[in-house]
Subunit: 268 residues, 3 copies
């Protein structure tokens, strides 16, 4: 296959340090900001209804994550998502544990009306959003990513990009589909890495607006490569998290360009 | 003394990866999730009144910590604690700085009505809850744990387990009492370790429902052992925190079984 | 120049472990608490309107940071700032991204009425507060600190100390002005270090109430020295953050006393 120019996308991210407006969960805020800063984007966390629409319109992209959702935050997320849609600002939805409670489904239904550019989720969450059977019990992925069907169905339904992450990742815009392997088995033992990845997708899409599918792949490829490297040094999840931030910081465009764990899915 | 089978309890935790519903303070959320994941449990942080009761009923255990309490959160904690009590889900109360303000005392009084399975607290907080004189000025323990009297009195009053932690720990169900030593002097220099320990107690009790007293001891023993090991490697509280997560991850059931810093208290 | 006795101020901080009441943003809470604990102060994070005034009156100092501000939090901050002012408790304002939205300007205007002891901010924020032209787009400093004029103007307007941090720092009470260099280029790649520094200023001022200008310099000098040391060890922002906490912990009063990167500004 011909690889998309993932290295160029990282170079552009670092040259432009896109401002990513994050409305995310309390658990993920600090680690998400550090993931963006280490890679080369500029995070801003704010959620007040008085200012979210104004700020989203200034940002390069918006990232919304419903992890510790409550009604006031859901209202702010809607204001921000509407502003993103109105101003042509790309935005990413991370529908944490959407299958777990009725409340989360309502929140996601309302947000989907504002047309996210990318949905970054695990397999359980993708299946819940796609209206397929979900066995999700919460934030864990219990379904495998072996089957890309749900991701493609969701991308076609919502006319957006879907990045379904897990042991291997599926990235699709409903027409072109890719699978990415790599990463490290210790990644699920560190909290909110997926949340941070969603915000990083927003950063890459902000920096590379004309190619959102490849930009999404570039974000996932950064995580996959940095995760592999961190895993070689880590003695456990504490040192893994430290090494992951260091690896995101030291990753070069050339590293991404020589990536060989991405494959196009021709028939799913 | 005959040791309770603490190693078996860690093995069961890892085999069953119990889902721990945490309603905790903003400072502790990330570190608590990482402590649970490193040891082998599965954390979920959510607090919306629309979903807490539903979620608690699905969880293996609930952990409530009042650190950054406000009225809306207190209301959600009550809904969750009631759901736990109604559905027989064990739950742990961490009454952060309960002696510091009248508001915290009101919140704790309301929560105690829902019968926690375990109270994990420092000596100042135990004394405040037990109605004894407290010199607490906030989140710090100013009283010593040399005297187990307050812990035993509280356990008897509330008919629950009390885990009073400090330089040494006291664990009691009001009838049987234990003291655990170990850990490391650097532990109080890292924020929210006690908060994370409370959630870990919830994880152990979820995985070992028939033996909540021994399960509580197992959680504290994990922290004590991992803290000792982390202290041997750390150059300060930054590297201590990293090493603690690594040590929780690499701790084996055999390590717990060979623990020799737990003693039964026959006369207090 | 004759150096203020910065080393003595660190010794006093460690001897008295001042209680610092922090009302800060969600991103910064954990790292701020760890920065205070590593250096030798005692953090407490709480924000409920039912208890903030009561707690501020007990604390050694108050630190307010508007990063993830919302109306309920702004109301609590006002209660706390009023209590600080009424009880003579020193307090520090960190006006995160004040120039970015109208809402932030309103919040800061209300807080400034309660007379902060110290404002710790980057150059964009200082200029926004001073009513000068600001090019700030958010949490990043886009203006340089080469010009101390705005900091001095703000200190004179508000009759308080201003600590304007960046590649080099300016500390002024409107009459005496100092510049501090040092630190490390990796510091802006770790989130919320500035937020933590604001709280550390509160800790130093609490411990050294008679000399708030020198106390503010001591806090900044700790960060500068610890940052330099951390940068020598770090392989990226993950290991930098760990090394910074370790360096704050191991820093001695003698280290501060031999600092040679502080200079008085005689003509600005």
């Amino acid at each position: 296959m011909t690889y998309p120019p993932l290295g160029d996308m990282l170079a552009t991210l670092r040259d432009t340090t896109p401002l990513v407006h994050c409305i995310t969960n309390y658990v993920a805020m600090n680690s998400t900001a550090n993931i963006l800063l280490a890679t080369g984007a500029s995070p801003a966390m704010l959620h007040a209804p008085e200012e979210v629409a104004e700020f989203t319109a200034m940002a390069g992209a918006l990232s919304i994550n419903i992890g510790t959702i409550s009604s006031p935050w859901a209202a702010s997320m809607e204001l921000a998502a509407r502003s993103a849609n109105d101003t042509g600002t790309p935005w990413v939805l991370d529908p944490v544990a959407v299958g777990a409670t009725a409340f989360r489904q309502q929140v996601c239904t309302a947000l989907l009306a504002h047309q996210p550019s990318v949905i970054r989720a695990n397999a359980s969450e993708v299946m819940a959003l796609a209206g397929l059977a979900s066995q999700g019990r919460g934030v864990d992925a219990t379904a495998t990513t072996d089957d890309a069907t749900a991701a493609i169905a969701l991308a076609q339904q919502q006319r957006c990009i879907v990045a379904m992450t897990g042991e291997s990742d599926v990235i699709t815009d409903g027409t072109h589909h890719y699978r990415l392997t790599g990463g490290h088995p210790m990644m699920p033992r560190v909290t909110t890495l997926g949340c941070g990845l969603s915000a990083l997708v927003a950063g890459f899409v902000a920096a590379n607006r004309d190619e959102p599918l490849a930009a999404t792949m570039a974000a996932l490829a950064c995580f996959s490569l940095a995760g592999s490297r961190a895993g070689q040094q880590a003695r456990g999840p504490g040192s893994f998290q430290v090494a992951l931030l260091d690896a995101l910081y030291t990753l070069t465009p050339e590293d991404l360009s020589s990536l060989n764990t991405l494959e196009a899915l021709h028939a799913v």
